[in-house]
Amino acid sequence: MNSATQFKPGDRVTVKFQDRPGHLRTPWYIRGKSGWIEQVHGEFRNPESLAFGHDGLPKKTLYLVAFNQSDVWGRTAAPKDKLLVDIYEHWLESSAQEREEVSHE
């Protein structure tokens, strides 16, 4: 994991509410929702830039982010069920809960 990778598995994250023109690959339903990093997929060219014929550089880190279904839809799904979405680093920020826990590490 290179020093530029912001998150690691287990980190609590929230998906940003970005609402701007362009080719965005973070689904509407997950924006603003909180979950945790399941896996670091690695670095990929940015599709938001590739979509307009640019080179997509610099690469961005892509994460597998997990969410409780009940947290995403605001109602009781089967309690164990999860939703997993591949999300780029620039769409994620640390959750407030994780910020509180940092002092214990």
């Binding site: 339903y29 990929f44 892509l62 279904q69 164990k80 999860k82 591949d86």
Partner: protein, 209 residues
């Protein structure tokens, strides 16, 4: 329901009956060839490449993984290499992840934004995978989707839905059916449906009805 990937040329409408865009692809094709952007051979190669890809590839991978624990480990750790071992060309996939189902966990894959699918392994996705109804429902109520495909899961089984939004392509490694000990790979492969590798259903039962 045929899982074969071959492009059977079904009954075609006379061309003047085709829709606006259906007609235009013929014009676009000819112009691109005239201008040297692509060649007729490029097109033929792509048609043949696509015809060679089908759920049988996935079924063979799964059947081997069921019978050979070491291969299963390799399939999960490095799916593209495991494919190469079996002569399946998965090189066109940028990043390939195999998700293993167990008694306590089932996975399901959708692309809500378009129709991303592991085409280099399984061939073209089924129409239903690309449909608005699947794309809308899979993330919010996967269990109701599974019920439509005949899979009823108790609440103590965890359902994990993957929305394939980036370059990762997911293949489900379904749970091996009970009563298949000592089965040959060929017989095991027959139980592995395409839809079980997408995750909306389990594989076929070993016991015939």
């Amino acid at each position: 329901m045929s899982d074969a990937g071959n492009a059977e040329h079904g009954h075609d409408h006379p061309k003047h009956e085709l829709s606006h865009y259906a007609k235009r692809i013929y014009a676009i094709r000819d112009l691109l060839i005239e201008k040297g952007v692509i060649t007729e051979k490029d097109i033929q190669c792509q048609i043949e490449y696509q015809e060679a890809r089908s759920p049988a590839n996935g079924a063979n991978l799964v059947a081997r993984a069921w019978g050979d624990a070491a291969f299963k480990g390799r399939l999960i750790a490095d799916p593209k290499s495991a494919c190469a071992e079996m002569g399946i060309d998965a090189t066109a996939i940028n990043e390939f992840v195999v998700l293993e189902n167990t008694e306590s966990v089932r996975h399901m894959v959708v692309c809500t934004l378009c129709s991303c699918y592991p085409r280099p392994i399984l061939g073209r996705p089924p129409d239903w995978y690309k449909s608005f109804n699947y794309r809308q429902r899979a993330v919010v109520d996967p269990r109701s989707v599974m019920r439509e495909f005949g899979l009823n899961l108790p609440d103590d089984v965890e359902v994990r839905v993957h929305d394939s939004t980036a370059d990762i392509r997911y293949l489900i490694l379904p749970l091996r059916p009970k009563g298949t000990e000592n089965w040959s790979e060929a017989d095991l492969a027959k139980l592995v449906t395409r839809d079980s590798m997408i995750g909306v259903m389990d594989p076929l039962d070993a016991i015939p009805e």
